[in-house]
Symmetry: C2
Subunit: 188 residues, 2 copies
Amino acid sequence: MELLKRRILECGRCFDGGILKVDSFINHQMDPDLMSNIGKEFAERYKDAGVNKIVTIEASGIAPAIMAGAIMHLPVVFVKKKQPKTMENMLTTTVHSFTKDRDYTVCISGDYLTADDRILIIDDFLAYGNAAFGILDLANKAGATVVGFGFIIEKSFQNGGTKLRDLGYRVESLAEIASLDNCTIVLK
Amino acid sequence: MELLKRRILECGRCFDGGILKVDSFINHQMDPDLMSNIGKEFAERYKDAGVNKIVTIEASGIAPAIMAGAIMHLPVVFVKKKQPKTMENMLTTTVHSFTKDRDYTVCISGDYLTADDRILIIDDFLAYGNAAFGILDLANKAGATVVGFGFIIEKSFQNGGTKLRDLGYRVESLAEIASLDNCTIVLK
């Protein structure tokens, strides 16, 4: 997706420790026109895959997921990082955050993720795959089928993508970062 | 917005303590077609108001905000409930959550909310107005002008709407709930 790659090179910023900041257009301030194109791209790549629902995780996954959902006319469910008192039929799992160096419990209602579902999992970033494996665990607990994953940006030098593909999952990443060494963005 | 009101009456559920659950179509599972119509309605109501940016708060405000932003072709910034280590020029404020009965600190980067901005603040619910006043405080700290607010659902029997309107703010709520007494949804 050339539009996205150009934007990452122009507006993305690197920090020590393999951190790529895209908060001017993806995960703090968001460019809705770009997000709309991102949604279209996911919809196009998964159009014949028999997906009936999109699942994402709050907060930065919501915008690309709802954009894809609007084009595919499919419901979108977001995994929550806090457990609401009123959630019924709650499924939970633990996710480790490398950025924040702590474990947290995430949840989804089993009312909205069931054994009848064939889901596309969308998120903004794929790095080590912790959030992705969390959603995968929730899908397994619900008995849902995971058709594939869609990420805006994959850091290919971290191993989340390799792990998911080695397990046989389809992974579509709209931009892949080969390296952030010396604070320089190198696309794959 | 008749489509939304009908959906609230059909799919919304009441719980003791003035709680309205709309998690099957708005704030856990989301209906992107409805969300798209919600975005259109906000865009229509604020089309001549000179808005240059939309501000919301994670997580449930993101979907309606990005949909409005896509139609208005305006950037959307979401206020964060955790302070990222890499955020620069951070503005913070404290928000009290009635549902969770605790205070939490929210933040926005002053890089994306400035004295040049004329903002529309969008969120899913207006109840006591705590989140809204938090965003208002951030806008004041940034020197931004608040053009108005847009909420999907306003609980008119709680006092957030009255407080905002008494201060002279324009508040557009797409559905207003007059009462949830006896666990019955009564629209205004």
